[in-house]
Each structure stands twice: as C-alpha cells, then as structure tokens.
C-alpha cells in the first residue's frame, strides 16, 4: 500500500528523494487517522526545516496535528493547491496531496523504507 520508492518516518511523514530536491507529505495511514483534512499550515518558501522538528500543522475536522520534518532542508516550494483543496491530503496523500519541497541541506532523520514502515504500522494494531 505504501509506495516502495519513498522513505518514511515513524511519525507518518514520507519523503521522495528527487535528486537535489525532496518532496514531503504524510502517509495514507496518517490521513486516515486524522480524518477529513480542512486546513494545512505550511512554512514559507525560503524558510528552513530541521529533522525531527515541527514544520507545519495539519488540521482535521476534529483536531490539529504537528507535521515533523524528515530531514534538514530549505523550503523551495509549497503545495498551493492545499490552500483551497486541503482534502487532497485525504484523497491523494502520495500525489497531489504533497506538502512541501525542500533542498536537503543536512542529515535526514531516522528514515525507514516502505517494508519497514509497513511492518511498523502492523505493530500499531
């Protein structure tokens, strides 16, 4: 279910390494646990994010949840579609529901591959 070309955090973010730039979003499991997403607060282009630290907030109908950075980086793009259609996070979490693109500047956090993430999810039930 979780794409094999991505890396994951145990806080349910994903990172797609695209050479100089990495794309970041939240996983299918995360969006399902949150429920209907109604608002996403993302950092400004040019700001920096730090592995393991909060870089934004996703608001569902029920609650606000922090987004944790999977790597150190500088934000080079944010998904403007989410301002008007935040439900893309629910309907297409690995595609149009992406959140930010960063230029990776330092270490990544403890990222795991899809198989390890699937195994981790299995321990949550």
């Amino acid at each position: 279910m979780n794409p094999s070309d991505l890396q994951y955090t145990k806080e349910h973010e994903w990172l797609r390494d695209a050479g100089t730039v990495a794309v970041i979003g939240i996983t299918h499991h995360a969006q399902d646990a949150l429920g209907d997403v109604v608002f996403v607060e993302l950092p400004a282009i040019g700001s920096t994010i730090t592995a393991g630290r909060s870089f934004g907030v996703v608001e569902s109908v029920k609650a606000a949840s922090d987004l944790y950075a999977p790597c150190d980086g500088e934000v080079v793009a944010v998904n403007g579609l989410l301002a008007t259609t935040p439900d893309l996070v629910n309907t297409d979490p690995y595609g149009d529901g992406w959140m930010i693109k960063v230029r990776v500047t330092g270490s990544t956090g403890d990222l795991i591959d899809a198989g390890s993430y699937d195994a981790f999810l299995a321990t949550l039930h």
């Binding site: 949150l34 109604v38 608001e59 109908v61 029920k62």
Partner: protein, 397 residues
C-alpha cells in the same frame, strides 16, 4: 505527524458500552472514550459526510451514554422547582424543558432536559460525564432541609441499563421515523414527547435534539436497540440516512450554537454568561443558586458567550486565547472548529460583556499568532424555516 489525542483514560479504568457498541465496532466506527463510555467518533466515510447527511437528509446517533434519572412522587414537582432555575410547573404532560443544575454560587453543574411524564413523574436527561456527580448532587439536595419538602415523598431513581436513547436528526427525520412507528408523529411539537410503538417495541419519542435540525430522540428498551437502529437504517435508505458519531454531533451542535457542558457551561460559568437568561425565573420562589443569580441579574453579567468567525485562514479550537485589537488577552474560546455547512472557521468564546456586540473585531490566538475574527450572532446556522410546522411556545435549545 502526531495523531489526535485519544482522550485521557486512567490505567485500569473500564469504559462503559451502550447496547449499540457491538454494532458500531462491526460497522467500521472509530471508537473513542467519551464521558466514561466507549463511543463512535465517526464511521468509515468520515465526519463531513455524516454532518452533511444530517443537514440534507437524516442521521442516526447513539446517545445511550446520556444519563436518565426518574424523579417521581407527590413532592417531585415542588422539589424540582427548588432544584432548578426554570419554572417546571409550566410543563404540561408530555412537554420537555431545557434546564440547568445550578450551584449555590450560581455556577453550572450540568445542563439537562426535564420531561413531564405524569402529574408527579419526571424524567431528567443528563450529560454522560456528569451523570454520577449529578445524581450525587441531587441526592444531597434531596437531603437538604432548606427546601422544606418531605423527601419521603420523592423517588429519585437513576436508570440502569434497561433503557437506551437513539437520536434521529435531519429534515427527513420525521418521514424516516414515521415509517417504523405505529403512532402518528406529525403533530408532535418541538420539545414535546409521546409514547409510541417503534418497530413493535414500546418507546418514548421526543422532538428534541442537538443538531439544529428537526429531530427526535427516542427512548427504547436496550434489548431492542440494535433492531430499531437497523430498522431506521433500512427505512431511511432512500433518504440517505447515515449513522453519525460524536465528531458530527460536535460540528452540528457548534453550528447551531448549542452549549456543550465542560466547554460553554462549567462550574465557573453562570447561565447569564451563557446567554440562557430566558431559562431562569427569579420570581418563582426560592431555588438553588437564586440569590447568586439575582445578584448577576442586578449587576449585569461580567462575561458573555459570543460567536466568533475567523476572517483569515486557520482553525480555532477550544481553549485558545481571545485577543482585543491591542493584542491584550480578553477571553478564551470554549469550542471551535471548521463549519462544514458555512465553510468558515467558527468558535464560541467567553469575552467581556462589553465586547459581545456583533461586528466587534477581536482575534483568536492560534499557535502564538493572532488570527483576525469578528463577533457574529448565535446561532451560526439556522435551518430553513419553510418546512417548519406551527411554532410552539417551548424553549428553544
């Protein structure tokens, strides 16, 4: 990402289950602790779908967690008159009244609904989280000699698990409920109740609710709950009926500007502050909290519950600071969230009474940043009135 808090539950504490608990689990509900009960917060399709189903058609809610207390006997009416700030004597048979349990200092212990089922027989519906404390409070009040009524003439009985409650809410609720009821419900007025046979089982149908839509709350034997629930789903299929969880219950009641105990109403909030002055009858004789409430009535309330609408992007939640235009903290939100019907972010908040006029510019602090907001009239949402039958004199909840 970190998930929403599942709710505080002490180790070893067991959650109570309504008769519909097994049905919820078998049908994909996400269960959460609420008021000591394991309750569905949403089903598979999510809160927004459930919310819109109630606004457009009909939704079902398991409200079996609500407490039910019988008060009966020759002294019941006189004692209830002393216990609550509303005029219980105005209730006709089969009529219901939104009321409060007030503390001697005027604070609010719970909000309740009182049904008059007989001359000397009343049913009180209380909040799940407060049920045990409410009964303890009522027993203490029964033993209080100040009311001067013989406690031997009053039976106070908290219902066990024999009966449960199901809510049917939405513009098509009458049509759907009528299909499984043998009694004509068409003429049942707002805040009125009547005995009816539902799916062959004797029950009590009340035209009450917590969504801002036309709706009914039905008391049925617990053993019949699953059968009635499934009969309602079948009867409502053509009306788009959906089972709805606590998530939709909260967004619906917030849009309707209805108080949730522990948020808009607390031990530290009096009824004037919560815009419930229409409930109190200071001239009906003495009652618990009367002196304190009379002082508030004379001096004016210090704070007022207001509706706030965010004028910028963001989502306010309960407990966020409310700021005046200078950035000074002047109050706090009591509830907040997205309004699926209005497609805006809304909140209720307690602010100084002088800042309660619609149009007043305030701000809500969300994660350290002020977000512009404006005071708007409550309720945020009012259902279209074209389909509404003859108005009643019942209190509006």
């Amino acid at each position: 990402m970190n998930g929403p808090d599942a709710g505080g539950l002490a180790a070893g504490e067991t959650l109570r289950r309504t008769p519909l608990h097994g049905w919820h689990v078998a049908h994909g509900a996400r269960m959460v602790p609420f008021g000591g009960w394991d309750m569905p917060v949403q089903y598979a399709t999510g809160v927004l779908t459930e919310h819109h189903a109630v606004r457009a058609g009909v939704g079902l809610f398991d409200i079996g967690h609500m407490g039910q207390v019988d008060v009966a006997g020759p002294g019941a009416l006189a004692w209830l008159q002393w216990l609550v700030p509303t005029d219980v004597s105005r209730l006709e048979l089969g009529q219901a009244q939104y009321s409060l349990l007030c503390a001697p200092d005027g604070g609010t212990i719970d909000d309740i609904i009182i049904y008059r089922l007989g001359d000397d027989r009343f049913l009180l519906i209380v909040n799940a989280a407060n049920a045990d404390a409410d009964v303890a409070w009522m027993r203490a009040c029964l033993a209080n000699p100040d009311h001067g009524i013989d406690p031997a003439g009053i039976d106070l009985v908290s219902h066990g698990d024999a009966r449960t409650l199901v809510a049917v809410q939405g513009p098509r609720s009458l049509e759907v409920l009528q299909r499984i009821a043998d009694t004509d419900l068409t003429a049942l007025g707002y805040y009125r109740a009547l005995p009816a046979t539902i799916s062959g089982t004797p029950g009590l149908v009340a035209r009450t609710g917590y969504t801002g839509e036309r709706g009914y709350e039905v008391s049925v034997p617990s053993t019949a709950a699953v059968g009635i629930w499934e009969a309602l789903l079948e009867a409502g299929a053509s009306a788009g009926v959906m089972p709805c969880g606590l998530g939709a219950r909260d967004t619906l009641r917030l849009e309707a500007g209805m108080a949730l105990y522990g948020h808009e109403l607390t031990r530290d909030v009096n009824l004037f502050e919560a815009n419930l002055e229409r409930l109190v009858r200071l001239d009906k004789g003495t009652f618990v909290g009367r002196d304190a409430l009379a002082l508030v009535a004379a001096a004016g309330r210090a704070r007022a519950l207001v509706g706030l609408e965010l004028t910028v992007a963001g989502v306010p939640r309960a407990g966020y600071p409310v700021l005046d235009p200078t950035g000074a903290r002047v109050g706090e939100t009591t509830s907040g969230g997205p309004s699926p019907t209005l497609k805006k972010s809304i909140a209720m908040a307690l602010v100084p009474a002088a800042m309660a006029s619609p149009g007043t510019a305030l701000a809500i602090e969300i994660r350290g940043r002020a977000h512009a907001a404006v005071v708007v009239p409550l309720p945020f949402y009012k259902r279209p009135t074209t389909r509404r039958p003859a108005p009643t004199s019942s209190p509006d909840r």
